[in-house]
């Protein structure tokens, strides 16, 4: 068992990890930037270390300060949370070098999954279908048309060094392909310093469905069900839910088996998520990528199954191994998560850092709140805009939606705008109620969900 864990993160996930550690009797060391002195994770931890100024590059991303701090407090483990250094293979290796257990997969696993071409190859070897295309490999402009003809239009041109939707361009025919390829290369060069591009078949009518896995690092892997994260805006997940309400039992089983097969083939250690596109027209699924960390939306899985994923991460990292087997994973009811952000939904989601003059979180049956915020807390402008995650559970999806509406409507946040009004509007759309949407629906219908005020520059 780990004895003392440094949490290399901030915000709600730092609070989440501290709680899991304390339940296991593991001492906790928080780190914080000068801007986060008053954050809840600093207060809840057994010890807290200031690791630099507000800028993340000089604090939460500063591997030297983090490893130095861990050595100074004699921590035997580092939990990276999500974001920041969570998928930094070098940081995972540096922890090993410093004799500190990195709570997550090995640097090697992180690298394999970070390289799209390698990840696709490994998926294919594990028998997991991938989106038809150039298999993540860079394509010469001269070869483009040939590859596109082979996989069929429309196609997506993607930057090899890109991610999160940046540097993507659509081409519906050979003319568009030749036009957009040059632009894509130039943009990739400007954005990532690397002009390599690759091709993928474009799947227009799809859901984003991801499978939660836990691996023991020795080939033993279980899945903990799937989450549907198709409600997205600018490739950011807005609402997550589980189970996916639009797939058949066969497709669901296929997803689960594929995720386990891929993870087992790389002796995956810890919590991970295998992301898929589910083609609603073809009733087929394709591997997109694997996230080698705990995810923002992990509570959806936790309230559905009763499995504490962060606890399992810590047990695996500490050598106890995971506490459950596949047969112990039992799903019940329906879960939905809304990310409440300090953003003004009516003004193009403009960030709205500032002080929470009044703050009363919802509670009661089936309502879970993961947050680092409290009355009087100032949301700083330097990091992401998340105020809280609200996760509701109910016996069925309709009740879960009604419960989420009630929780959001009773959430008192005064002092700064939040995305609560937007979420309330979104939950009431026919598309969401009936689950008739795909990954592009929100982007196309955002004006109908919540009319945007014209911005005065």
């Amino acid at each position: 068992m780990l004895k003392r864990v440094l949490i290399a993160n901030r915000g709600e996930i730092a609070v989440r990890v501290i709680r899991a550690c304390r339940e296991l009797g593991i001492e906790t060391v928080a780190v914080y930037s000068e801007a986060d002195h008053d954050s809840l994770h600093v207060r809840l931890a057994d010890k807290a270390v200031c690791i630099g100024p507000a800028q993340a590059t000089r604090s939460y991303l500063n591997t030297g300060s983090l490893i130095g701090a861990a050595m100074y407090v004699k921590a035997d483990g580092i939990h990276p949370g999500y974001g920041f250094l969570a998928e930094n293979a070098d940081f995972s290796d540096e922890c090993v070098d410093a004799g500190i257990k990195f709570v997550g997969p090995t640097g090697k696993s992180i690298r394999q999954m970070a390289d799209k071409a390698v990840a696709r190859t490994m998926a294919a070897e594990a028998g997991v279908p991938t989106v038809p295309g150039s298999d993540g490999k860079a394509v010469d402009v001269a070869e483009l048309a040939a590859v596109a003809d082979e996989i069929g239009y429309p196609v997506l041109i993607k930057a090899a060094a890109g991610g999160g939707g940046r540097g993507m361009m659509l081409a519906e025919n050979p003319d568009q392909l030749s036009q957009n390829a040059m632009t894509a290369q130039a943009e990739a060069q400007a954005a990532f310093g690397d002009s390599s591009i690759y091709l993928e078949k474009y799947i227009g009518n799809a859901r984003h469905v991801e499978v939660q896995v836990l691996g023991d690092g020795k080939g033993g892997v279980i899945h903990v069900g799937e989450r549907d994260c198709s409600m997205q805006r600018r490739h950011q997940k807005i609402v997550e839910e589980g189970p996916c309400p639009v797939i058949t039992r066969n497709l669901r089983n296929g997803l689960h088996e594929a995720a386990v097969a891929l993870s087992a083939s790389v002796d995956y250690e810890g919590a991970g998520t295998v992301e898929f596109l589910v083609d609603l027209d073809a009733k087929a699924f394709y591997f997109i990528e694997m996230n080698t960390r705990i995810q923002v939306e992990h509570p959806v899985t936790e309230v559905l199954t009763g499995v504490d994923l962060v606890r399992e991460q810590l047990l695996i990292a500490g050598g106890e191994g995971m506490s459950l087997k596949q047969k112990d994973v039992k799903l019940r009811g329906h879960a939905i998560e809304c990310r409440v952000n300090a953003e003004d939904g009516a003004r193009n989601f403009m960030p709205s850092p500032g002080t929470l003059v009044e703050y009363i979180a919802p509670g009661g049956p089936g309502v879970r709140v993961d947050s680092h915020c409290y009355a009087g807390y100032t949301v700083p402008p330097y990091y992401d805009s998340m105020i809280a995650k609200i996760i509701v559970w109910a016996p069925d999806r309709t009740e879960a939606i009604d419960r989420m509406r009630t929780a959001l409507a009773g959430y008192v946040i005064d002092g700064i705008p939040s995305t609560i009004p937007f979420h309330l509007a979104l939950l009431d759309t026919d598309a969401f109620r009936k689950s008739k949407f795909n990954t592009q629906w929100l982007e196309k219908n955002i004006e109908d969900v919540m009319p945007q005020e014209s911005m005065t520059a």
Partner: protein
């Protein structure tokens, strides 16, 4: 009676650290790609900037390991730590009577260049026209371009690249033409 969580002092085991421990930490860090170290906890403070990092001329160390290690064995502070967060008046005072400021509209992080490796938008002495993009303000990962408020010359840039700025703080001064 006040109940918060349990008192921190009662929970964390006391860390007993020797000078050798600190040396070990420094060695590990030295081998990493890190340019700067900042560790503050209880009465221990270690701030190191490697040669060449962000224009700092030399390694500067401030370390006070707690009890067992004798205080004298700690490396002597060579330089005060950079008071990055403090706003001294040189940062807010106008450099000339006619100078015009560009103030940050929101709290955020100030960037002089469009991307990490790229050249800055402007240097001191550069000529600008009203509306030219002169810097970027990152507010919660949303990048906002800030524009020159007048035709003229960049007089001074009182803020470091990637520095945190507050709302209303001058980030650039211009001499109008």
């Amino acid at each position: 009676m006040i109940i918060r969580s349990e008192k921190r002092a009662e929970r964390g085991r006391a860390v007993s650290l020797t000078y050798e421990d600190v040396q070990e930490i420094l060695k590990i860090i030295d081998q990493s790609s890190t340019k700067e170290i900042h560790i503050e906890v209880d009465d221990f403070k270690l701030i190191v900037r490697k040669h060449g990092a962000d224009g700092a001329p030399a390694v500067t160390t401030t370390a006070t390991p707690p009890a067992p290690a004798p205080a004298s064995s700690a490396p002597a502070p060579a330089e005060p730590e950079p008071a990055q967060a403090a706003q001294d008046t040189s940062k807010t005072e106008a450099p000339s009577a006619t100078a015009q400021s560009l103030n940050s509209p929101l709290a955020g992080t100030f960037y002089r260049a469009p991307s990490p490796g790229a050249d800055p938008f402007v240097e001191e002495g550069a000529k600008v026209s009203t509306g030219d993009t002169v810097c970027i303000l990152d507010v919660m990962k949303v990048m906002n371009t800030l524009k020159a408020p007048c035709d003229g010359v960049v007089l001074s840039i009182p803020v470091e690249n990637a520095e945190a700025v507050s709302a209303g703080q001058p980030v650039m001064w211009f001499e109008p033409k």
